[in-house]
Amino acid sequence: MATLEIRALSVGYGPVRALRDVSVDVPAGAITAVLGGNGAGKTTLLRAVSRTLGFHRGTGTGTIRFDGQALEGLGPAQVVAAGVVQVPEGRQVFARMTVADNLRAGALGARGGRKAVAAALTRVHELFPVLAQRAHQRAGLLSGGEQQMLAMGRALMAGPRLLLLDEPSLGLAPLMAQKIAETVQEINAAGTSVMLVEQNASIALRLATTAYVLDVGEVALEGPAGELAASDEVRRRYLGVVDETAAEDADRAGRAPRTLSRWSA
């Protein structure tokens, strides 16, 4: 039983092929990680789900279903209303607006009424007390870590059932990245499914139950996060572990199989 099912998704930006035949399952209640280097297609995958490829003149084929509802053909606002909210890469807070107004903006796509919004705000302030302290400050004046908190808090204002996170640890000091990771766990524990896109594989594999590795637009590896973390190729390429035999293994792996289960068999 998966909440989000992506099947045979291919996306291009004009002549540029960004994703080829990608299938990903994000099970309800879990954290699912998507790893990959620069240009692997991680952001493109999230854009396809949130229906914002149009902003980049991207087009795609394949199916995306959330709890059985087809998302293709919906607009971004309808995807939010369906319960899927994306936190964009690079935070993208509304820098000229106050922290409080950023959170208000996040609630504009919410389905529930005033009560639900008030409850969401209380919860966001519990998760990120700093957002309450800085409520009337302009968001552009926050530190990078605080902006990431604001971006996540803003997305939570819509009361999502599935949260899409695009590289939340990008550009953050290790301590702050750690704090964000803990918060992601806390959000998940409270019942929100999470699709976590990261280049920082060590953090992502620690949080996630299952993980996918994208390589130049294709799923190169998939499997339980623990197994992936132990695999030599992932260790070498994403965890910075250098090891001669692992490198050879990975070379061979690159030529042959596609999923971790087949690869390790």
């Binding site: 914002t52 994306q86 903006a105 504009l108 796509g109």
Partner: protein
């Protein structure tokens, strides 16, 4: 001195009307990044509806219908024309608005012919004299009404959900969409609000001492362009400041025309543009703007 005060107050009054027009212009630019060259035609449409109806249904209802009518025309332009070009280059969009302007103005002036139409306002040519300073009632009404509308608009922009969605969409449309904000609705409401404000401005551009609504009214409306540009195209504060600066400059330059005769005749009409050019030389993004015009 009395002359100076009269000119200054007159300038502030007409300036607040320019500010109304410029505000609508800025709202459309902020929400959609479109430089709306059809703005003067929205104003003409609102004024025309009021002028045609006031005899039959009375001035205030006619004004109400005129405001609503201009809002509908604005929304219609967005919905039936601009929306088709979504995603096009900003310069293409600006040129599309020029096309819209030509169509609307041609149709409206065909209907008006060479008539000068009265809008049936209650103030007529009454004047008020306080301490030797004489002001037309229409000028006082213009200042009060424009001030009130601008205040209401700014409060709404700052405090309502509509304002939050406008500002979010203006700052980052894609992220606004990710929050579930409907960009189509944002731009539709921007055009409607701009039309409504322009219709009110139409009233005050055509009351005493101006003879009435005529073809040339759209030319008067064009003075809101230098107002918006010198204030900064993406700044509501800039629209207000720009409107007042243009109004006062025009009023003083016209009033002291004879003393400025070395600059040639008609300096009053030219002055707003001179001020605009000087401001842009010093501050290319306008007084309060953040985006340089070159981006358009």
């Amino acid at each position: 001195m009395t002359t100076f005060i009269e000119l200054l107050l007159g300038g502030l009054s007409i300036g607040s009307v320019y500010a109304l027009i410029a505000l609508g212009f800025v709202v459309i630019f902020k929400a959609t990044e479109v430089v709306n060259f059809a703005h003067a035609s929205l104003l003409l449409a609102g004024g025309y509806v009021t002028a045609v109806l006031h005899d039959d249904i009375g001035f205030w209802p006619a004004l109400g219908v005129g405001i609503a009518g201009a809002a509908v025309v604005g929304a219609g332009v967005e919905f039936f024309v601009m929306r088709r070009y979504r995603g096009s280059d900003h310069s293409v969009l600006a040129i599309v608005t020029i096309g819209v302007d030509i169509i609307l103005v041609t149709e409206l002036t065909r209907r008006m012919g060479t008539d000068v139409m009265a809008l049936g306002d209650p103030w007529g040519d009454d004047v008020v004299t306080i301490g030797g300073v004489t002001l037309a009632e229409t000028r006082i009404a213009a200042f009060l009404v424009a001030g009130l509308l601008i205040t209401v608009f700014l409060l709404a922009f700052r405090f309502t959900s509509w304002g939050v969605s406008m500002r979010a969409a203006a700052e980052n449309p894609q992220t606004a969409a990710l929050m579930g904000i409907k960009l189509g609705r944002v731009s539709l409401s921007a055009w409607a609000v701009a039309g409504a404000l322009a219709a009110v401005a139409a009233l005050f551009l055509t009351v005493f001492p101006t003879p009435g609504l005529e073809r040339a009214t759209s030319l008067a409306a064009l003075k809101a362009f230098p107002a918006a540009i010198l204030g900064g195209l993406d700044s509501t504060t800039g629209a207000l400041a720009g409107g007042l600066i243009v109004g006062v400059t025009e009023s003083l330059a016209t009033g002291y025309q004879s003393d400025l005769s070395f600059l040639g005749r008609g300096i009053g009409d030219l002055a707003p543009y001179l001020v605009m050019v000087i401001v842009l030389l010093v501050r290319p993004a306008g007084l309060f703007g953040t985006k340089e015009l070159a981006r358009v």
